[in-house]
Symmetry: C2
Subunit: 320 residues, 2 copies
């Protein structure tokens, strides 16, 4: 058995994931990460280590026209070759705002639907140690603060389903490429990983290589740091009331206040994605300002409203 496959089944046990009788949606972009995941899973099926119904789900971001749809055709052929079901989703024309955020949102909406539609217990993605490191750097550069620096985790809720990342804790991108080559299976440099409009692509191609000159193991180092920071305080798990009392917030030190606001937003909004220091500072001003009924905006149509000495979190897209 290839060590990549052995590592995967070891992680599978560690995460206590089901071995049989379930359906699993595997997100496959066509890149080495997701292709190696699908390959290793079907290998485990052949070896009777797993007995799951696998559905390969490809999302076409329509970023580079033909190139992009060629990724889809490639994944469709691969799925057929591995005798795995294939489902395809497509990006609607991005209207406005952050393309990267929008593409991400649409992709996960499609994966969640596909899981619901096929009765899957979870969606699996091919995120690697490199993605962990890149995400950490993106959050750090954006200024997400301590709470926002928290790491990706290998098993979390995704709307009505679960998002599992069985490569995240151990596989480097080069391991996924090596496994594909050893298995004699092609992979694509998928469109998402080439587009220089995407911060992540520039982090990968410009920032990481520079940092590697200082520390050749920078990827593992950053991923390990992200995990350590994430588990540093258990109060991250604390859950928060619907309303925050302004008078009480005024008693807190700045770090306490920032922690509280991040924890509150995270627990009410579901995530701290795209929430950075300037948003928290905006709420801080809202707290100190005399006027009532003032608002402070957050990404994704959310806003913090101050009324009657209390802070409330609203989403203009949801609440009427």
């Amino acid at each position: 058995m290839h060590k990549f496959v052995r590592n995967l089944i070891t992680e599978w046990r560690k995460l206590e994931l089901p071995f049989s009788g379930e359906t699993l949606v595997v997100a496959v972009s066509g890149g080495a990460d997701s292709v190696s995941l699908l390959l290793a899973l079907t290998d485990l099926q052949k070896r009777k280590k797993l007995d799951l119904r696998l559905v390969a789900a490809h999302f076409d971001h329509r970023l580079r026209g033909n190139e992009s749809s060629a990724d889809g055709a490639f994944v469709e052929d691969l799925a057929q070759h591995l005798s795995v079901e294939y489902v395809r989703g497509q990006m609607p024309r991005p209207d406005r705002g952050n393309l990267e955020e929008f593409a991400r949102h649409e992709r996960y909406a499609f994966l969640e639907q596909t899981a619901a539609g096929s009765g899957a217990f979870a969606v699996a993605t091919g995120h690697t140690v490199n993605d962990q490191a890149e995400t950490f750097l993106m959050n750090l550069i954006r200024g997400s603060g301590s709470r926002g620096l928290s790491a990706m985790i290998p098993d979390r809720k995704l709307g009505s389903t679960r998002l599992i990342r069985p490569l995240l804790s151990w596989a480097k991108r080069e391991d996924t490429e090596e496994f594909c080559r050893d298995a004699g299976i092609e992979f694509r440099e998928d469109a998402m990983n080439q587009d220089p409009r995407f911060t992540r692509v520039r982090i990968r191609k410009e920032v990481i290589p520079l940092l590697e000159e200082f520390n050749p193991k920078i990827v593992q180092t950053l991923a390990a740091t992200a995990r350590l920071l994430d588990q540093r305080c258990d109060n991250d798990a604390a859950d928060f009331p619907e309303l925050l009392v302004v008078a009480e917030l005024k008693q807190l030190s700045k770090p306490e206040l920032y922690q509280t606001l991040r924890g509150w937003i995270g627990s009410r909004r579901g995530s701290l994605r795209s929430v950075d220091l300037k948003h928290i500072e905006g709420i801080e001003q809202l707290i100190s300002s005399r006027k009532s009924g003032r608002e402070s905006e957050l990404p994704g149509g959310w806003r913090v409203v101050k009324q009657g000495g209390k802070l409330r979190l609203r989403n203009i897209m949801v609440d009427k």
Copy 2:
């Protein structure tokens, strides 16, 4: 009053530093940071806001021969011009090992001696928000882990004296240069800040500019993040026993173990400087290994020794 001077006296009050009747050693390299600090302090003396005995202390790192001693001559002239006492120290020939670490150690030893010799209550340095950001990046790249990422603080113990950094919380490097220009006082690009053998110099000249392309306020962002992380957990302040029981350490989760080892080393050794993940991993192996009497090395002549089921921290330079 120049806003730089106003900011300094505001910070002085915030840190509850003495206004009169004390001696203060000011570390002056000749660069804009330390020159602006000395200038602003003497300005406050003239304005009778402060009544301290100031001693300008310059350490010659002997990095660029004449250049380096020219820094000293410049600081001596400046001190005379401002009618401030002047003391000069010099680097012995670096024997071996990390030049940057060695230079730093020698410089602080000199400043501490100078404080003791002049009966000063503290040593003041011109560290800025930029230094905070650069230090954070250096620790991050080296892999210092969550505990090691802790920020520089504006007032801490330095051996038998105190180290105060009255610019750290608010001044950007450009503010110090602007103040020097407005005051019509020259400053030097001091040798320490030019030597490409120093990681910090490359961080400043290569890494920060690249990150600024993503976030123009990256310096403030990183400094704010360092402060937030630093204050995230109060258990950082916990103090630790002389010996750690191996059997108990084996009960801990990896993050708990890393936190404990970092806290223990920090409290026994006085700092976590240069201690990175590979050192902690070395101790982790020491814990899991069957053999007794084995050792794991730490920077600065320190080592962790396992004996009779306990871990002890020793320094070969101190303990015989």
